[in-house]
Symmetry: C2
Subunit: 362 residues, 2 copies
């Protein structure tokens, strides 16, 4: 069973940097029911890798990536909200991306996929709202990259998202984050199997992608968490060859690489990763504060985590202060979660009540 | 001109994990003069990559890696101290390491070089002291990996190093640091040119080594420094190919990779990197505090930097507290330098007066 629905985008679909795609579609899922005046819609824009399957539903009982946050009676209560989660344009979980077939050539786009920005991710999601005749969102929720896309949405469609939930996100990429992402992309591109992006489906650049994913995990979690969790614990088996893994933390990275590689398209990763580095909210008006003031938001919940090294807490504070300066009523929560950037995916004890409370007061 | 001197180690030289090497030697340099009772010797053990050339001298006027710290009238004053800096065993800057020729086979050791620990690095340096008939050091100085080697030295030769200067170092590797180092090693090993360690001299695993070095730079500096230094500055030229560098921080990483790769042996890197992950001061007595108490130190200067993510400040505090509990008079300086782990190589305004003051009071 599958709860994924598809929306055909206008064809050709013109992207912000000038490229275009034909016959493009977006994958999305919904939970709950849209009310008569279409005022209870809640849109979730995702981080880099998640699909639209944020939570289970009768049509798809498999656990979703935000299962603990989303459902009847949960923080994002599907008895009240009509929740829509969109798989980002450029991804590989149903929406059109570099691994999709180009209808004009019958083969995969690969690097012929046009340059993609988070503004495109946001703008394309708008079409899903149009499909449901939703003129204004009840709430717009974006964690991580999804928060960047959400801010792009809010500034491009002023007034459409009066209530924002921005989680562990940033108004632009800092050079430390860009350095990490650049190295991840380089690692994929240096894999001989990458073949300038035109890899065969049975010859993915797996090794480079594994390294990229491991570097991702290093940037998603925190030193404090790993200290508590792994310490200096060693594996039970000694390495067969020199320099192979010996410590539990190394096996943990392997497990995460195993899970990810093969389930995500390396080129999609490159496109979305670059889109994050390109993203700069100040492109919309000349300064971050100007962009934030143009959103015509009324209320915002901004959450950050003190151990996040990829989207550091200062960046959430900058968003919160900018929105406040623009007259938005802002709840700002700098949380002491130990799980770093990934806290919103694991530390539900802290995140769920805050999100529930904010959405409950709307 | 060259100031490097060589000491032949006993042959065969037996390493701690059971391996042995024949005809091994250590490269070292000295500055200043040893006094009559050999009481003014100061030994510097280095981080992973430096050579023994810590500073210029009449025999070698080239700038050294710690030029601003070491010389007549400087923090490490060569008018008072007889300074010895040793290139670590296993390195490639004159001391015997994996890139050296095995006298038994006439070809490079490569991975036939035996397993190396920082205890071996410390023990071998002891032979240089014996050569000069130095029975007790005036001071033992170790930044970064050199601090680990210095603590190994101090615990293996109790009383020989009554005055310790431990800078941005750790009593053991934390899993976050191990994860980064493991990924660096993996990046080298996955380069097809690595060839299970038996690369040809004209076919080094350059790409993998470049990635490893860049990841090193990411872990050596700090997000705050890069924010100030690079912000979102872009290069003047647009990338010729998709996904090539666009931001100044990416060019900075390239420059550092260019400088390093070709000047350091990738296998040496693997051996010394692994030695850091293996190092655990608690191997000497069952607990870090026990090991610290066995050193018979009298005074110690422990310096750390709050922005260091590789050797975080908590680890220097742990060393300082453990030494204090053992009755050592400890000066502990947690510094607010913005340059992260590398601060001791650049933030001389903060480091030099502290080191000068400590050494001046001995």
């Amino acid at each position: 069973m599958n709860a994924t629905r598809y929306l055909e985008l206008p064809s050709p679909y013109i992207l912000r940097r000038g490229g275009q795609i034909s016959g493009a579609k977006l994958a999305y899922e919904t939970w709950g029911s849209l009310n008569a005046d279409a005022s209870n819609a809640l849109l979730i824009l995702t981080g880099l890798s998640p699909s639209a399957h944020a939570a289970s539903s009768p049509d798809d009982p498999a656990q979703g990536w935000w299962e603990s946050m989303l459902g009847p009676g949960k923080a994002i209560d599907t008895q009240r909200w009509f929740v829509i989660c969109v798989n980002s344009l450029g991804s590989c979980k149903g929406s059109t991306g570099p691994a999709s077939k180009n209808p004009e050539t019958e083969s995969e786009y690969r690097l012929d996929f046009p340059e993609l920005t988070l503004e495109d991710v946001a703008e394309s999601a708008r079409h899903v709202l149009d499909h449901f005749r939703i003129k204004r969102l009840g709430a717009l929720v974006g964690p991580s990259m999804g928060g960047m896309s959400a801010m792009a949405f809010a500034v491009m469609f002023p007034g459409m998202a009066p209530n924002l939930v921005l989680i562990s996100t940033a108004p632009y990429s800092l050079p430390f984050a860009t350095a990490i992402r650049s190295l991840q992309r380089e690692s994929i591109r240096r894999d001989p199997n990458w073949n300038n992006g035109h890899y065969a489906n049975d010859h993915w650049p797996e090794q480079g992608f594994r390294t990229a994913r491991k570097l991702g995990m290093i940037s998603y979690r925190s030193a404090a968490e790993w200290r508590d969790r792994f310490g200096r614990k060693r594996l039970n088996v000694r390495p067969e060859k020199p320099f192979e893994r010996e410590f539990e933390v190394e096996a943990y990275l392997d497990v995460h690489a195993d899970r990810f590689v093969g389930s995500f398209d390396p080129n999609s990763y490159l496109y979305l990763s670059r889109a994050m580095d390109w993203f700069d909210l100040s492109d919309h008006g000349g300064a971050v504060d100007i962009a934030l003031s143009r959103m015509q938001a009324r209320r915002a919940l901004v959450i950050g985590v003190s151990t996040d090294i990829l989207f550091p807490i200062e960046q959430q504070r900058e968003i919160a202060e900018g929105l406040r300066n623009a007259g938005v009523v802002v709840d700002y929560f700098p949380l002491p979660s130990i799980q770093g950037h990934d806290a919103f995916l694991v530390d539900f004890e802290r995140f769920a009540p805050i999100v529930a409370n904010f959405l409950g007061c709307l």
